[in-house]
Amino acid sequence: MNTVRIPTPMRKLTNDQELVQAAGANIGELIDDLEKSFPGIKERLCDQQGNVRRFVNIFLNDEDIRFLDDKGTALKEGDEVSIVPAIAGG
Protein backbone atom coordinates (compact mmCIF):
# COMPACT_ATOMS: atom_id res chain seq x y z
CA MET A 1 0.00 0.00 0.00
CA ASN A 2 1.02 3.58 -0.53
CA THR A 3 0.13 6.75 1.29
CA VAL A 4 -1.44 9.43 -0.89
CA ARG A 5 -1.53 13.07 0.22
CA ILE A 6 -4.76 14.74 -0.90
CA PRO A 7 -4.90 18.51 -1.49
CA THR A 8 -7.59 20.65 0.13
CA PRO A 9 -9.73 21.17 -3.01
CA MET A 10 -10.11 17.41 -3.38
CA ARG A 11 -10.85 16.44 0.21
CA LYS A 12 -14.60 16.61 -0.28
CA LEU A 13 -14.14 13.36 -2.17
CA THR A 14 -12.07 11.73 0.57
CA ASN A 15 -14.32 12.60 3.51
CA ASP A 16 -11.90 15.38 4.49
CA GLN A 17 -9.01 12.97 4.82
CA GLU A 18 -5.62 14.47 4.06
CA LEU A 19 -3.85 11.10 3.88
CA VAL A 20 -5.40 8.04 2.28
CA GLN A 21 -4.11 4.60 1.32
CA ALA A 22 -4.07 3.18 -2.20
CA ALA A 23 -2.22 0.45 -4.06
CA GLY A 24 -0.85 -0.06 -7.55
CA ALA A 25 2.25 -1.09 -9.46
CA ASN A 26 2.44 2.39 -10.95
CA ILE A 27 0.81 5.83 -10.72
CA GLY A 28 -1.89 4.92 -13.27
CA GLU A 29 -2.94 1.88 -11.27
CA LEU A 30 -2.83 3.88 -8.06
CA ILE A 31 -5.26 6.41 -9.54
CA ASP A 32 -7.57 3.54 -10.56
CA ASP A 33 -7.41 2.19 -7.01
CA LEU A 34 -8.18 5.64 -5.58
CA GLU A 35 -11.23 5.78 -7.85
CA LYS A 36 -12.55 2.54 -6.32
CA SER A 37 -12.36 4.01 -2.81
CA PHE A 38 -13.32 7.55 -3.71
CA PRO A 39 -15.56 7.60 -6.80
CA GLY A 40 -15.09 10.71 -8.92
CA ILE A 41 -11.47 11.30 -8.02
CA LYS A 42 -10.08 9.99 -11.33
CA GLU A 43 -12.19 12.47 -13.29
CA ARG A 44 -10.62 15.27 -11.25
CA LEU A 45 -7.09 14.04 -11.84
CA CYS A 46 -7.28 12.94 -15.46
CA ASP A 47 -8.78 14.41 -18.61
CA GLN A 48 -11.02 12.53 -21.04
CA GLN A 49 -7.98 10.99 -22.74
CA GLY A 50 -6.80 9.61 -19.41
CA ASN A 51 -3.83 11.98 -19.14
CA VAL A 52 -3.06 13.76 -15.88
CA ARG A 53 -4.72 17.17 -16.12
CA ARG A 54 -2.63 20.22 -17.01
CA PHE A 55 -3.08 21.82 -13.61
CA VAL A 56 -2.42 18.74 -11.49
CA ASN A 57 1.05 17.91 -10.22
CA ILE A 58 1.74 14.43 -8.86
CA PHE A 59 4.88 13.78 -6.87
CA LEU A 60 6.37 10.39 -6.03
CA ASN A 61 8.13 11.05 -2.76
CA ASP A 62 9.74 14.39 -3.74
CA GLU A 63 9.96 13.92 -7.50
CA ASP A 64 7.48 15.28 -10.06
CA ILE A 65 6.28 12.26 -12.08
CA ARG A 66 6.78 14.27 -15.26
CA PHE A 67 10.50 13.90 -14.63
CA LEU A 68 10.00 10.15 -14.17
CA ASP A 69 7.62 8.09 -16.31
CA ASP A 70 4.36 10.01 -15.85
CA LYS A 71 1.49 7.62 -15.15
CA GLY A 72 3.81 4.70 -15.85
CA THR A 73 6.07 5.65 -12.93
CA ALA A 74 6.63 2.49 -10.90
CA LEU A 75 5.68 2.37 -7.22
CA LYS A 76 7.07 0.27 -4.44
CA GLU A 77 5.58 -0.53 -1.07
CA GLY A 78 5.66 2.46 1.26
CA ASP A 79 6.20 5.15 -1.39
CA GLU A 80 4.40 8.41 -0.65
CA VAL A 81 2.47 10.06 -3.43
CA SER A 82 1.40 13.72 -3.23
CA ILE A 83 -1.22 15.41 -5.37
CA VAL A 84 -0.62 19.16 -5.52
CA PRO A 85 -2.48 21.81 -7.52
CA ALA A 86 -0.15 23.24 -10.17
CA ILE A 87 -1.62 26.72 -9.96
CA ALA A 88 0.44 28.45 -7.32
CA GLY A 89 3.38 30.75 -7.03
CA GLY A 90 4.91 33.22 -9.40
Binding site: R44, N57, D62, D64, R66, F67, A86, A88, G89, G90
Partner: protein
Protein backbone atom coordinates in the same frame (compact mmCIF):
# COMPACT_ATOMS: atom_id res chain seq x y z
CA UNK B 1 -22.58 16.41 -8.96
CA UNK B 2 -20.87 19.28 -10.79
CA UNK B 3 -24.25 20.79 -11.60
CA UNK B 4 -25.18 20.47 -7.94
CA UNK B 5 -22.01 22.30 -6.93
CA UNK B 6 -22.77 25.12 -9.39
CA UNK B 7 -26.28 25.41 -7.98
CA UNK B 8 -24.92 25.64 -4.45
CA UNK B 9 -22.52 28.38 -5.52
CA UNK B 10 -25.23 30.37 -7.29
CA UNK B 11 -27.39 30.18 -4.14
CA UNK B 12 -24.36 31.14 -2.04
CA UNK B 13 -23.71 34.22 -4.14
CA UNK B 14 -27.38 35.13 -4.20
CA UNK B 15 -27.52 35.01 -0.41
CA UNK B 16 -24.50 37.24 -0.13
CA UNK B 17 -21.75 34.79 0.69
CA UNK B 18 -22.74 33.27 4.02
CA UNK B 19 -20.19 35.19 6.09
CA UNK B 20 -21.18 37.91 8.46
CA UNK B 21 -17.88 39.75 8.65
CA UNK B 22 -17.14 43.35 7.74
CA UNK B 23 -16.62 42.66 4.05
CA UNK B 24 -20.29 41.79 3.53
CA UNK B 25 -21.28 45.26 4.61
CA UNK B 26 -19.35 46.74 1.76
CA UNK B 27 -19.54 44.36 -1.18
CA UNK B 28 -18.10 45.69 -4.39
CA UNK B 29 -20.71 46.12 -7.11
CA UNK B 30 -17.93 45.67 -9.67
CA UNK B 31 -15.95 42.63 -8.52
CA UNK B 32 -18.60 39.95 -8.58
CA UNK B 33 -17.12 36.47 -8.14
CA UNK B 34 -14.31 34.08 -8.98
CA UNK B 35 -14.45 31.95 -12.08
CA UNK B 36 -12.49 28.90 -13.25
CA UNK B 37 -10.48 29.84 -16.26
CA UNK B 38 -10.77 26.32 -17.64
CA UNK B 39 -14.39 25.32 -17.20
CA UNK B 40 -16.07 28.60 -16.26
CA UNK B 41 -17.55 27.36 -12.97
CA UNK B 42 -18.35 30.22 -10.59
CA UNK B 43 -16.99 30.46 -7.06
CA UNK B 44 -17.65 32.85 -4.19
CA UNK B 45 -15.06 35.49 -3.32
CA UNK B 46 -13.21 33.35 -0.79
CA UNK B 47 -9.62 32.29 -0.18
CA UNK B 48 -9.65 29.63 -2.89
CA UNK B 49 -7.43 29.50 -5.93
CA UNK B 50 -8.19 26.36 -7.89
CA UNK B 51 -11.35 24.83 -9.28
CA UNK B 52 -12.66 21.84 -7.32
CA UNK B 53 -13.43 20.08 -10.56
CA UNK B 54 -10.37 20.39 -12.81
CA UNK B 55 -7.82 22.27 -10.66
CA UNK B 56 -7.93 25.14 -13.16
CA UNK B 57 -6.99 28.60 -11.90
CA UNK B 58 -9.71 30.79 -10.45
CA UNK B 59 -9.78 34.33 -11.73
CA UNK B 60 -11.60 37.47 -10.59
CA UNK B 61 -14.69 38.33 -12.62
CA UNK B 62 -16.27 41.77 -12.89
CA UNK B 63 -19.48 43.44 -13.94
CA UNK B 64 -18.04 45.48 -16.80
CA UNK B 65 -21.35 47.22 -17.52
CA UNK B 66 -21.37 48.59 -13.98
CA UNK B 67 -17.73 49.66 -14.29
CA UNK B 68 -18.34 51.30 -17.66
CA UNK B 69 -21.04 53.43 -16.05
CA UNK B 70 -18.65 54.97 -13.52
CA UNK B 71 -15.07 54.68 -14.76
CA UNK B 72 -14.08 57.31 -17.28
CA UNK B 73 -10.71 58.79 -18.22
CA UNK B 74 -11.67 61.93 -16.30
CA UNK B 75 -12.54 60.00 -13.14
CA UNK B 76 -9.26 58.08 -13.30
CA UNK B 77 -7.22 61.25 -13.90
CA UNK B 78 -8.87 63.00 -10.96
CA UNK B 79 -7.56 60.39 -8.53
CA UNK B 80 -4.16 60.17 -6.78
CA UNK B 81 -1.29 58.78 -8.85
CA UNK B 82 -1.24 55.19 -7.60
CA UNK B 83 -2.40 51.85 -8.95
CA UNK B 84 -5.62 52.33 -6.99
CA UNK B 85 -6.89 54.96 -9.42
CA UNK B 86 -8.21 51.89 -11.29
CA UNK B 87 -9.83 50.47 -8.14
CA UNK B 88 -13.06 49.28 -9.80
CA UNK B 89 -10.94 46.84 -11.83
CA UNK B 90 -9.17 45.38 -8.82
CA UNK B 91 -10.68 42.55 -6.74
CA UNK B 92 -11.38 43.93 -3.31
CA UNK B 93 -14.70 44.88 -1.77
CA UNK B 94 -13.99 48.10 0.08
CA UNK B 95 -11.31 50.75 -0.06
CA UNK B 96 -7.67 49.57 -0.28
CA UNK B 97 -5.98 49.47 3.11
CA UNK B 98 -2.51 48.15 2.24
CA UNK B 99 -0.14 49.71 -0.26
CA UNK B 100 -2.32 52.67 -1.09
CA UNK B 101 0.67 54.50 -2.59
CA UNK B 102 1.88 51.65 -4.79
CA UNK B 103 2.29 52.05 -8.53
CA UNK B 104 2.07 54.82 -11.11
CA UNK B 105 5.77 54.37 -11.70
CA UNK B 106 7.41 56.38 -14.48
CA UNK B 107 7.00 55.49 -18.12
CA UNK B 108 10.35 56.73 -19.39
CA UNK B 109 10.81 57.68 -23.04
CA UNK B 110 14.10 55.92 -23.67
CA UNK B 111 15.55 57.64 -26.72
CA UNK B 112 19.17 56.74 -26.08
CA UNK B 113 18.35 53.06 -25.59
CA UNK B 114 16.09 53.23 -28.65
CA UNK B 115 19.04 54.36 -30.75
CA UNK B 116 21.21 51.56 -29.34
CA UNK B 117 18.55 48.97 -30.12
CA UNK B 118 17.67 50.51 -33.48
CA UNK B 119 14.01 51.32 -32.90
CA UNK B 120 12.19 54.61 -33.31
CA UNK B 121 9.97 54.78 -30.22
CA UNK B 122 10.88 52.98 -27.01
CA UNK B 123 9.67 53.34 -23.42
CA UNK B 124 10.70 51.79 -20.13
CA UNK B 125 7.94 51.04 -17.63
CA UNK B 126 10.16 51.58 -14.65
CA UNK B 127 9.03 49.47 -11.71
CA UNK B 128 12.57 49.52 -10.32
CA UNK B 129 11.26 52.50 -8.33
CA UNK B 130 7.94 51.04 -7.27
CA UNK B 131 6.96 51.79 -3.69
CA UNK B 132 7.86 50.51 -1.17
CA UNK B 133 10.17 47.61 -2.16
CA UNK B 134 11.36 48.52 -5.65
CA UNK B 135 9.66 45.86 -7.73
CA UNK B 136 6.36 45.20 -9.50
CA UNK B 137 5.50 42.77 -6.69
CA UNK B 138 4.29 45.71 -4.60
CA UNK B 139 1.33 45.85 -6.99
CA UNK B 140 0.18 42.28 -6.41
CA UNK B 141 0.87 42.40 -2.69
CA UNK B 142 -1.13 45.60 -2.26
CA UNK B 143 -4.20 43.84 -3.63
CA UNK B 144 -3.55 40.52 -1.86
CA UNK B 145 -3.05 42.07 1.56
CA UNK B 146 -5.94 44.51 1.21
CA UNK B 147 -8.08 41.50 0.40
CA UNK B 148 -6.48 39.44 3.20
CA UNK B 149 -7.54 42.11 5.68
CA UNK B 150 -11.08 42.12 4.33
CA UNK B 151 -11.16 38.36 4.86
CA UNK B 152 -9.84 38.68 8.40
CA UNK B 153 -6.46 36.97 7.99
CA UNK B 154 -3.96 37.70 10.74
CA UNK B 155 -1.01 35.85 9.20
CA UNK B 156 0.09 36.23 5.60
CA UNK B 157 2.74 34.30 3.71
CA UNK B 158 4.25 33.61 0.32
CA UNK B 159 6.54 31.41 -1.74
CA UNK B 160 9.05 33.73 -3.34
CA UNK B 161 12.14 34.11 -5.48
CA UNK B 162 12.90 37.29 -3.51
CA UNK B 163 10.99 40.33 -4.68
CA UNK B 164 7.66 39.01 -3.48
CA UNK B 165 9.16 38.15 -0.09
CA UNK B 166 10.44 41.72 0.23
CA UNK B 167 7.05 43.14 -0.63
CA UNK B 168 5.02 40.82 1.61
CA UNK B 169 7.41 41.54 4.49
CA UNK B 170 7.27 45.31 4.07
CA UNK B 171 3.56 45.65 3.39
CA UNK B 172 2.64 43.19 6.15
CA UNK B 173 4.79 45.21 8.55
CA UNK B 174 3.01 48.42 7.63
CA UNK B 175 -0.36 46.71 7.93
CA UNK B 176 0.43 45.14 11.30
CA UNK B 177 0.09 41.61 9.96
CA UNK B 178 2.34 38.73 10.96
CA UNK B 179 4.16 37.27 7.96
CA UNK B 180 6.15 34.24 6.86
CA UNK B 181 8.14 34.31 3.64
CA UNK B 182 9.51 31.08 2.20
CA UNK B 183 12.39 31.36 -0.24
CA UNK B 184 15.07 29.18 -1.83
CA UNK B 185 18.03 29.25 0.57
CA UNK B 186 20.48 30.45 -2.09
CA UNK B 187 18.86 33.81 -2.96
CA UNK B 188 20.84 37.01 -3.37
CA UNK B 189 21.82 38.63 -0.07
CA UNK B 190 19.99 41.85 -0.94
CA UNK B 191 16.73 39.96 -1.24
CA UNK B 192 17.22 38.02 1.99
CA UNK B 193 18.20 41.10 3.99
CA UNK B 194 15.50 43.05 2.17
CA UNK B 195 12.96 40.78 3.87
CA UNK B 196 14.61 40.27 7.25
CA UNK B 197 14.78 43.99 7.95
CA UNK B 198 10.99 44.22 8.16
CA UNK B 199 10.87 41.71 11.03
CA UNK B 200 9.20 38.99 8.99
CA UNK B 201 9.86 35.28 9.44
CA UNK B 202 12.20 34.29 6.63
CA UNK B 203 12.31 30.55 6.00
CA UNK B 204 15.07 29.46 3.61
CA UNK B 205 14.38 26.14 1.92
CA UNK B 206 17.17 23.91 0.69
CA UNK B 207 15.77 23.45 -2.77
CA UNK B 208 14.70 25.23 -5.93
CA UNK B 209 11.74 27.64 -6.09
CA UNK B 210 9.41 24.93 -7.36
CA UNK B 211 10.09 22.89 -4.25
CA UNK B 212 9.40 25.96 -2.11
CA UNK B 213 6.16 26.42 -4.01
CA UNK B 214 5.05 22.87 -3.50
CA UNK B 215 5.76 23.11 0.22
CA UNK B 216 3.73 26.32 0.41
CA UNK B 217 0.78 24.67 -1.31
CA UNK B 218 0.88 21.97 1.35
CA UNK B 219 1.25 24.49 4.19
CA UNK B 220 -1.59 26.61 2.81
CA UNK B 221 -3.85 23.55 2.92
CA UNK B 222 -3.01 22.94 6.56
CA UNK B 223 -2.76 26.38 8.19
CA UNK B 224 -5.29 29.16 8.11
CA UNK B 225 -2.91 31.67 6.61
CA UNK B 226 -3.37 33.97 3.68
CA UNK B 227 -0.76 32.79 1.20
CA UNK B 228 -0.70 35.60 -1.31
CA UNK B 229 0.33 33.41 -4.23
CA UNK B 230 -1.49 30.26 -3.20
CA UNK B 231 -4.98 30.62 -1.68
CA UNK B 232 -5.11 34.41 -2.33
CA UNK B 233 -3.67 34.07 -5.85
CA UNK B 234 -6.85 35.10 -7.73
CA UNK B 235 -6.68 38.49 -5.96
CA UNK B 236 -2.90 38.81 -5.97
CA UNK B 237 -2.51 38.11 -9.67
CA UNK B 238 -4.98 40.85 -10.64
CA UNK B 239 -2.68 43.47 -9.14
CA UNK B 240 -0.36 43.00 -12.11
CA UNK B 241 -3.02 44.47 -14.39
CA UNK B 242 -2.26 47.89 -12.96
CA UNK B 243 1.02 47.93 -14.84
CA UNK B 244 -0.91 47.58 -18.10
CA UNK B 245 -3.45 50.25 -17.19
CA UNK B 246 -0.68 52.68 -16.32
CA UNK B 247 1.19 52.05 -19.57
CA UNK B 248 -1.94 52.84 -21.57
CA UNK B 249 -2.80 55.96 -19.58
CA UNK B 250 0.79 57.26 -19.56
CA UNK B 251 1.01 56.85 -23.32
CA UNK B 252 -1.94 59.24 -23.63
CA UNK B 253 -4.67 56.58 -23.63
CA UNK B 254 -3.01 54.56 -26.34
CA UNK B 255 -1.46 51.14 -26.44
CA UNK B 256 2.14 50.47 -27.40
CA UNK B 257 2.31 48.36 -30.53
CA UNK B 258 4.70 45.98 -28.71
CA UNK B 259 5.16 45.17 -25.04
CA UNK B 260 8.04 43.00 -23.84
CA UNK B 261 7.42 41.29 -20.50
CA UNK B 262 9.70 39.08 -18.40
CA UNK B 263 8.22 35.69 -17.60
CA UNK B 264 8.61 33.65 -14.43
CA UNK B 265 5.19 32.07 -13.87
CA UNK B 266 3.92 33.93 -16.95
CA UNK B 267 1.21 35.64 -14.89
CA UNK B 268 2.37 39.24 -15.43
CA UNK B 269 2.29 38.81 -19.20
CA UNK B 270 -1.27 37.47 -19.18
CA UNK B 271 -2.44 40.23 -16.85
CA UNK B 272 -0.97 43.02 -18.96
CA UNK B 273 -2.88 41.62 -21.89
CA UNK B 274 -6.03 41.44 -19.75
CA UNK B 275 -5.53 45.08 -18.73
CA UNK B 276 -5.25 46.25 -22.34
CA UNK B 277 -8.33 44.24 -23.31
CA UNK B 278 -10.37 45.51 -20.35
CA UNK B 279 -9.57 49.13 -21.18
CA UNK B 280 -10.69 48.51 -24.75
CA UNK B 281 -13.85 46.77 -23.56
CA UNK B 282 -14.66 49.72 -21.29
CA UNK B 283 -14.19 52.25 -24.07
CA UNK B 284 -11.17 53.84 -22.37
CA UNK B 285 -9.10 52.93 -25.42
CA UNK B 286 -9.85 52.58 -29.10
CA UNK B 287 -11.15 49.02 -29.43
CA UNK B 288 -9.54 48.62 -32.84
CA UNK B 289 -6.01 49.29 -31.64
CA UNK B 290 -3.75 46.25 -32.15
CA UNK B 291 -1.14 45.23 -29.64
CA UNK B 292 1.46 42.49 -29.48
CA UNK B 293 2.95 41.00 -26.34
CA UNK B 294 6.32 39.25 -26.27
CA UNK B 295 7.74 37.19 -23.42
CA UNK B 296 11.31 37.09 -22.11
CA UNK B 297 13.01 34.34 -20.10
CA UNK B 298 16.51 33.34 -19.08
CA UNK B 299 18.02 30.55 -21.18
CA UNK B 300 18.90 28.71 -17.97
CA UNK B 301 15.21 28.44 -17.11
CA UNK B 302 13.10 28.85 -20.22
CA UNK B 303 10.16 26.44 -19.99
CA UNK B 304 7.70 28.91 -21.56
CA UNK B 305 10.03 30.25 -24.21
CA UNK B 306 11.09 26.69 -25.02
CA UNK B 307 7.51 25.49 -25.50
CA UNK B 308 6.69 28.56 -27.61
CA UNK B 309 9.68 27.94 -29.86
CA UNK B 310 8.77 24.27 -30.23
CA UNK B 311 5.34 25.38 -31.44
CA UNK B 312 3.44 23.75 -28.59
CA UNK B 313 1.55 24.89 -25.51
CA UNK B 314 2.73 21.92 -23.46
CA UNK B 315 5.19 23.46 -21.03
CA UNK B 316 7.91 20.99 -20.14
CA UNK B 317 9.11 21.78 -16.62
CA UNK B 318 12.75 22.67 -16.02
CA UNK B 319 13.97 20.48 -13.20
CA UNK B 320 17.11 22.38 -12.27
CA UNK B 321 17.04 26.06 -13.25
CA UNK B 322 20.53 27.44 -13.79
CA UNK B 323 20.55 31.20 -14.32
CA UNK B 324 21.63 34.38 -12.59
CA UNK B 325 18.06 35.63 -13.11
CA UNK B 326 16.84 33.96 -9.94
CA UNK B 327 13.66 36.00 -9.83
CA UNK B 328 12.60 34.28 -13.06
CA UNK B 329 13.80 30.81 -12.10
CA UNK B 330 10.47 29.01 -11.98
CA UNK B 331 10.78 25.60 -13.60
CA UNK B 332 7.07 24.82 -13.45
CA UNK B 333 5.36 28.06 -14.43
CA UNK B 334 1.72 28.15 -13.33
CA UNK B 335 0.57 30.43 -16.15
CA UNK B 336 2.94 29.22 -18.86
CA UNK B 337 0.14 27.72 -20.89
CA UNK B 338 -1.85 30.96 -20.85
CA UNK B 339 1.20 33.12 -21.54
CA UNK B 340 1.92 31.10 -24.68
CA UNK B 341 -1.63 31.61 -25.87
CA UNK B 342 -1.49 35.38 -25.25
CA UNK B 343 1.76 35.65 -27.20
CA UNK B 344 0.37 33.59 -30.10
CA UNK B 345 -2.99 35.37 -30.18
CA UNK B 346 -1.41 38.83 -30.21
CA UNK B 347 1.23 37.89 -32.80
CA UNK B 348 4.06 38.01 -30.28
CA UNK B 349 7.09 35.83 -29.71
CA UNK B 350 9.08 34.36 -26.84
CA UNK B 351 12.82 34.78 -26.47
CA UNK B 352 15.46 33.90 -23.93
CA UNK B 353 18.84 35.25 -22.90
CA UNK B 354 22.04 33.70 -21.56
CA UNK B 355 23.69 34.92 -18.36
CA UNK B 356 26.23 36.85 -20.43
CA UNK B 357 23.46 38.52 -22.42
CA UNK B 358 21.56 39.32 -19.22
CA UNK B 359 24.57 41.16 -17.79
CA UNK B 360 25.02 43.02 -21.07
CA UNK B 361 21.33 43.96 -20.95
CA UNK B 362 21.61 45.33 -17.41
CA UNK B 363 24.62 47.41 -18.41
CA UNK B 364 23.04 48.65 -21.63
CA UNK B 365 19.95 49.89 -19.80
CA UNK B 366 22.01 51.48 -17.04
CA UNK B 367 24.51 53.16 -19.37
CA UNK B 368 21.94 54.45 -21.83
CA UNK B 369 19.04 55.41 -19.55
CA UNK B 370 20.41 55.59 -16.01
CA UNK B 371 18.14 52.79 -14.82
CA UNK B 372 19.69 50.04 -12.72
CA UNK B 373 17.57 46.94 -13.20
CA UNK B 374 17.86 43.57 -11.54
CA UNK B 375 18.67 40.48 -13.57
CA UNK B 376 15.08 40.14 -14.83
CA UNK B 377 15.47 43.60 -16.39
CA UNK B 378 18.61 42.41 -18.13
CA UNK B 379 16.60 39.50 -19.50
CA UNK B 380 13.93 41.84 -20.86
CA UNK B 381 16.41 44.19 -22.53
CA UNK B 382 18.46 41.34 -24.02
CA UNK B 383 15.38 39.56 -25.34
CA UNK B 384 13.98 42.79 -26.78
CA UNK B 385 17.28 43.28 -28.59
CA UNK B 386 17.00 39.80 -30.10
CA UNK B 387 13.37 40.34 -31.11
CA UNK B 388 14.28 43.62 -32.82
CA UNK B 389 17.25 42.08 -34.60
CA UNK B 390 15.05 39.21 -35.78
CA UNK B 391 12.47 41.67 -37.14
CA UNK B 392 9.78 40.40 -34.76
CA UNK B 393 9.60 43.93 -33.42
CA UNK B 394 9.70 46.20 -36.49
CA UNK B 395 11.99 49.20 -36.06
CA UNK B 396 9.31 51.81 -36.79
CA UNK B 397 6.76 50.55 -34.26
CA UNK B 398 6.42 51.64 -30.61
CA UNK B 399 7.76 49.38 -27.86
CA UNK B 400 7.42 49.27 -24.07
CA UNK B 401 9.86 47.20 -22.01
CA UNK B 402 8.53 46.17 -18.59
CA UNK B 403 11.42 46.51 -16.15
CA UNK B 404 10.17 44.89 -12.99
CA UNK B 405 12.86 45.06 -10.29
CA UNK B 406 15.76 47.07 -8.94
CA UNK B 407 19.41 46.17 -9.53
CA UNK B 408 20.48 47.05 -6.01
CA UNK B 409 18.89 43.77 -4.96
CA UNK B 410 20.94 41.54 -7.25
CA UNK B 411 24.38 43.08 -7.07
CA UNK B 412 26.15 39.71 -6.94
CA UNK B 413 25.13 39.07 -10.55
CA UNK B 414 27.21 41.93 -11.91
CA UNK B 415 29.89 42.25 -9.27
CA UNK B 416 33.21 42.61 -11.08
CA UNK B 417 31.45 42.79 -14.46
CA UNK B 418 31.23 46.59 -14.65
CA UNK B 419 34.86 47.43 -13.95
CA UNK B 420 36.32 48.52 -10.62
CA UNK B 421 36.71 51.86 -8.86
CA UNK B 422 40.19 53.33 -9.51
CA UNK B 423 41.81 54.13 -6.19
CA UNK B 424 44.10 57.09 -5.54
CA UNK B 425 45.34 59.16 -2.61
CA UNK B 426 43.57 62.51 -1.97
CA UNK B 427 46.04 64.21 -4.28
CA UNK B 428 45.37 66.45 -7.30
CA UNK B 429 48.57 65.19 -8.92
CA UNK B 430 47.46 61.57 -8.69
CA UNK B 431 44.01 62.49 -9.99
CA UNK B 432 45.43 64.29 -13.01
CA UNK B 433 47.79 61.43 -13.78
CA UNK B 434 44.85 59.06 -13.59
CA UNK B 435 42.59 60.92 -16.01
CA UNK B 436 45.30 62.16 -18.34
CA UNK B 437 43.98 62.01 -21.87
CA UNK B 438 40.38 61.37 -20.80
CA UNK B 439 39.13 64.97 -20.49
CA UNK B 440 40.42 68.50 -20.91
CA UNK B 441 39.95 71.30 -18.36
Amino acid sequence: MAACRCFQIVIWIFLGGGKTNAMDKNLSPYFTHLKCRECGRKYPKEAVHVCDFDFGPLEAAYDYDAIRAVLTREVIQSRPESMWRYRELLPIDGEPTVGTQVGFTPLVKADRLARRLGVRELYIKNDTVNYPTLSFKDRVVSVALSRAREMGFKVVACASTGNLANSVAANAASAGLKSYVLIPADLEQGKVLGSLVYGTNVIGIHGAYDQVNRLCSEIAGKYGWGFVNVNLRPYYAEGSKSMGYEIAEQLGWKLPRHTVVPMASGSLLTKISKAYTEFQKLGLLDAGERYTIHGAQASGCAPISGAFKRGTDIVKPVQKPDTIAKSLAIGTPADGYYAIHVMRETGGAAEDATDEEIIAGIRLLAESEGIFAETAGGVTVACAQKLIEAGKIPKEESVVLCITGNGLKTQEAILGKCGEARLIKPSLREFEELIAGEVTV
